[in-house]
């Protein structure tokens, strides 16, 4: 009869083993995070200045990057972290290009651009940054499927390192957009020596750049901890430790902000704005992003080829109402084919909401008895909400939209052809925004429009701002009129900031330079 005891003891032993080995395996992360929190609480004692600054800035981020290797990155949420580890040659601030790792640059001719580099920049491994590292960075960018098309005009064969601090880029054709490509995170300069020594896979986790912070610890799925690099050429970061905690749910990022577990919550949802405003210890900072949503129509489709149908569909959408319902104050209705803060944006006359006119146009096109369209939406984000509202607006004019929620690869793999879709873009340069109208671009629109193709090719070759504006304005007018797309909304980037954050400069994409930010106790 004491078998029952044996059993219970057995169960107990098993459970102890279970909990025991679970515990021992995860001791490391447990220690690390407790040390980070204890260090933040003990910092007040260490700081000697009048205002006490915290030594750790904790940021709630929505997504863990797959890599911190800039040439192998293609998500804004990854560049958000890389921004603090790396620097580009130049940056785009207040509508102009400004020097960062480069001191100056000049066009030798239409296809050769010479950059003069700073001679006082150190990588985080202590090596000096030279033109060799710059050359290496762009060479590997062309070998990465995530960066190659960004730098497609770069002719790396003929690009020359003139001396340690001078490099001359050669281009396949004149390309004003090349400057913008350099400022994209993919142009962040990496240490040649570090990449070659570590190998790609190791570098992706422990990258070496020239930025204010370097990776000290990366706990998969939990957090990345950065520490200030004391050799940073632009002055050592104000806060010694920077922690990115990965919290996928927007509402949880708000809760962490409320409880004071994080100092900053990135990428909040519009539904959380009111809650954060109500908090005593935090507030909202909102700036226009470069993100915009657009309804796309396929020109391979016989029905949608008829311009009257596309106009009718546009007249049937009450855009201000749609944007208000979906986004509230976190987005504006978009009247133009690019986000309003994009380089060279031209504001257009809004398309009026006019169901009668829509019905009339449909009747003229031969669809007085209604029309059925297929509306593909990718799962996630606000796409489905947008599609459902548009569906009901179109229903009023006799257009039935069948919504199919399926991600793009599956949709295409099942042999589907696009009719209607919603797409979010995220860019500030016309060459990256208007590329969706290019014949060479994907499947959603495919206009095969000779004028667009030549205009797209033409404007990026013009270095003179005024001359380029003429071509670009004309192209935007044309796109607005031809209605291959119906631009919908231009969204804002929403930051939740605790009140102890000082010197914060918001960035449209969330690429904040945290090295100049202060956190008081």
């Amino acid at each position: 009869m004491n078998k029952i005891y044996k059993l219970l003891i057995g169960l107990l032993v098993i459970s102890m083993v279970l909990s025991g080995c679970g515990g021992s395996k995860t001791e490391a992360p447990a220690e690390s995070s407790s040390s980070s929190s204890s260090s933040s609480s003990s910092s007040s004692a260490e700081a000697t200045t009048e205002t006490t600054f915290k030594d750790t800035l904790v940021i709630a981020h929505h997504e863990e990057p797959a890599t911190l290797d800039p040439q192998y990155s293609n998500m804004i949420s990854w560049f958000v972290i890389e921004k603090n580890i790396f620097n580009p040659l130049i940056d785009y601030i207040d509508e102009k290009y400004v020097p960062v790792l480069a001191t100056s640059w000049e066009n030798i001719d239409d296809t050769h651009i010479r950059f003069h580099l700073r001679d006082d920049v150190l990588f985080q491994n202590g090596e000096k940054m030279t033109a060799d590292d710059v050359y290496f960075t762009f060479k590997r960018a062309l070998e990465s499927p995530k960066s190659a098309s960004t730098f497609k005009t770069l002719d790396i064969e003929n690009t020359k390192v003139i001396d340690d601090y001078t490099i001359e880029f050669a281009l396949n054709m004149p390309d004003e957009a090349f400057f913008n490509s350099i400022t994209s995170g993919r142009g962040n300069i990496v240490s040649k020596k570090a990449v070659e020594e570590m190998g790609e896979a190791e570098f992706a986790r422990n990258p070496i750049g020239t930025g204010p912070y370097m990776v000290s610890e990366w706990i998969s799925g939990t957090q990345i901890k950065l520490v200030a690099f004391d050799g940073y050429f632009n002055g050592v970061a104000k806060t010694p430790n920077l922690v990115y905690k990965f919290i996928p749910e927007a509402s949880n990022r708000v809760i962490e902000l409320e409880t004071g577990d994080v100092d900053v919550a990135l990428n909040l949802a519009s539904s959380d704005i009111a809650r954060v405003r109500d908090m005593e210890n935090a507030d909202i900072v909102m700036v226009p992003s470069y993100r915009y949503t657009t309804l796309t129509m396929s020109m391979k489709d016989e029905v949608l080829k008829d311009k009257r149908i596309r106009q009718a569909l546009a007249y049937a959408i009450d855009k201000p109402l749609l944007v208000d319902v979906i986004y509230g104050e976190s987005a504006d209705a978009l009247n133009g084919v690019m986000p309003t803060n994009a380089i060279g944006f031209k504001e257009m006359e809004p398309t009026e909401y006019n169901p009668e006119k829509a019905k009339q146009l449909l009747a003229e096109a031969g669809y007085e008895n209604g029309l059925i369209l297929e509306f593909q939406v990718d799962p996630g984000s606000e796409y489905l909400d947008i599609a459902e509202i548009i569906q009901s607006m179109w229903q009023d004019v006799g257009v039935t939209a069948n919504i199919i929620t399926m991600d793009r690869p599956s949709y295409l793999a099942q042999g589907n052809e696009y009719q209607i879709s919603v797409r979010a873009g995220n860019a500030n340069h016309p060459s990256n925004i208007l590329i969706i109208y290019d014949s060479a671009f994907g499947d959603r629109i495919q206009p095969n429009d000779d004028y667009i193709d030549s205009a797209l090719n033409e404007f990026r070759q013009i270095y003179d701002d005024a001359d380029r504006k003429v071509v670009l304005d004309e192209l935007q007018d044309y796109l607005w009129d031809i209605k291959y797309t119906i631009p919908l909304a231009h969204t804002k980037t929403i930051y939740g900031l605790s009140n102890n954050i000082g010197n914060f400069v918001p960035d449209p994409l969330g690429l904040v330079d945290w090295s100049i930010v202060t956190v008081t106790e």
């Binding site: 009869m1 078998k3 029952i4 044996k6 059993l7 057995g10 169960l11 098993i14 459970s15 279970l18 909990s19 080995c21 679970g22 515990g23 395996k25 995860t26 447990a30 995070s33 407790s34 797959a66 890599t67 293609n74 990465s144 499927p145 995530k146 190659a148 098309s149 790609e200 896979a201 992706a204 986790r205 706990i219 998969s220 799925g221 939990t222 905690k245 990965f246 919290i247 996928p248 749910e249 949880n252 809760i255 962490e256 409320e258 409880t259 577990d261 991600d407 793009r408 690869p409 599956s410 295409l412 793999a413 099942q414 797409r423 990256n432 590329i435 060479a440 671009f441 994907g442 959603r444």
Partner: protein
């Protein structure tokens, strides 16, 4: 017993081979190109082609599968994640301790609550205590985990400020997620304990035990519970196995780096090496849990145990040379 273990472990090999083939087959023929998924819709044809070459997606199905199995058997190499370029096994092993800890704590919690309340309910059938326990268990079973998790966060983190709202690094972080999962499976175990105990309590041998003057405590804990344990062990084993495969919703709510969220992300990104490695890994874990459950059956029930004894021992028993134990 050893022979039984050995046989069971051998039997895992065809199971795992089968699982690996099915998963590989399914992911190969699932619509959707990983390169398109990874690169997004701004990618050009050249980018996609470059990605295909880097990921070796252009090789035929059987070549890929044979290489895959070969690498696992010879090198213990489960492949490399498409997105992070880190070894799949590393990705899994980093997250497994969290999942294991969460599952273990939840199961311990649910066993303690479930069995105790279940016994009380069964021995005092239809009493107020039983009715209250039954009502609470129905609430526990039907309350969605994500909702319960959010409520716990709001109460204990936001209002009271006692526990951290997310993460899984310190014991303080473990409490809310473990309670979230533990209570819902406790309800299940409690229902199973109650019905199983009720069945046993009506048996003749319980009446006999009582008739011979055995104290009620011993009657319930030794005579009744022991015989009622088999279905309870089954339920506990199943829920432990299920939890080791990851509790996606709970992991998301508490921002825990566990297997569940890793797998869902991998599936969404068409990160096939990680999906395949993950499923295989879960299959191994599940097999081991099943094995443990079977061994526990044998411990609890002598009838099952006799099936494991070897022929020679059986012969000796028949000849009366040795007794059973």
């Amino acid at each position: 017993m050893l022979r039984f273990l050995f046989r069971r472990i051998l039997m895992m090999i065809p199971v795992l081979l089968g699982v690996s083939f099915v998963v590989f087959f399914m992911s190969y023929f699932t619509p959707g190109d990983p390169a398109v998924m990874i690169l997004g819709d701004m990618a050009t044809q050249e980018d996609i082609q470059m990605m295909h070459e880097q990921l070796k997606l252009d090789e035929p199905f059987l070549v890929q599968y044979v290489n895959y199995v070969k690498n696992i058997v010879t090198k213990g190499d489960f492949g490399t994640s498409y997105t992070t370029k880190q070894p799949v096994l590393d990705e899994l092993l980093v997250r497994f301790p969290n999942t294991f800890k969460l599952a273990g704590l939840s199961v311990i919690l649910s066993v303690i609550i479930g069995i105790t309340v279940g016994i009380v309910s069964a021995t005092r059938q239809y009493s107020i205590l039983d009715n209250v326990a039954t009502a609470i268990s129905f609430i526990g079973v039907s309350m969605p985990n994500f909702w319960q998790g959010m409520m716990l966060i709001i109460v204990f983190s936001v209002w009271l400020g006692w526990l951290p709202p997310s993460g899984f690094s310190t014991p303080m972080h473990w409490i809310l997620p473990a309670v979230t999962i533990g209570t819902s499976s406790a309800a299940q175990i409690m229902r199973m304990t109650r019905s199983s105990m009720l069945e046993v309590i009506r048996q003749d041998y319980i009446r006999t035990a009582r008739a011979k003057g055995q104290s009620e405590r011993i009657v319930i804990w030794r005579h009744a519970l022991k015989n009622a344990l088999i279905p309870i062990i089954t339920v506990v084993g199943l829920s432990f196995g299920r939890l080791l495969g990851g509790a996606v919703l709970t992991e998301s709510i508490f921002s825990i780096a566990g297997i569940g969220k890793l797998m869902v992300d991998a599936i969404n990104m068409r990160n096939y090496p990680l999906v395949q490695g993950g499923v295989l890994f879960i299959a191994i874990v599940m097999s081991v849990v099943n094995l443990i459950v079977d061994v526990l059956y044998a411990y609890v029930d002598p009838r099952i145990r006799t099936q494991f004894t070897t022929n020679s021992i059986r012969k000796k028993i028949r000849l009366g040379e040795v007794g059973d134990e």
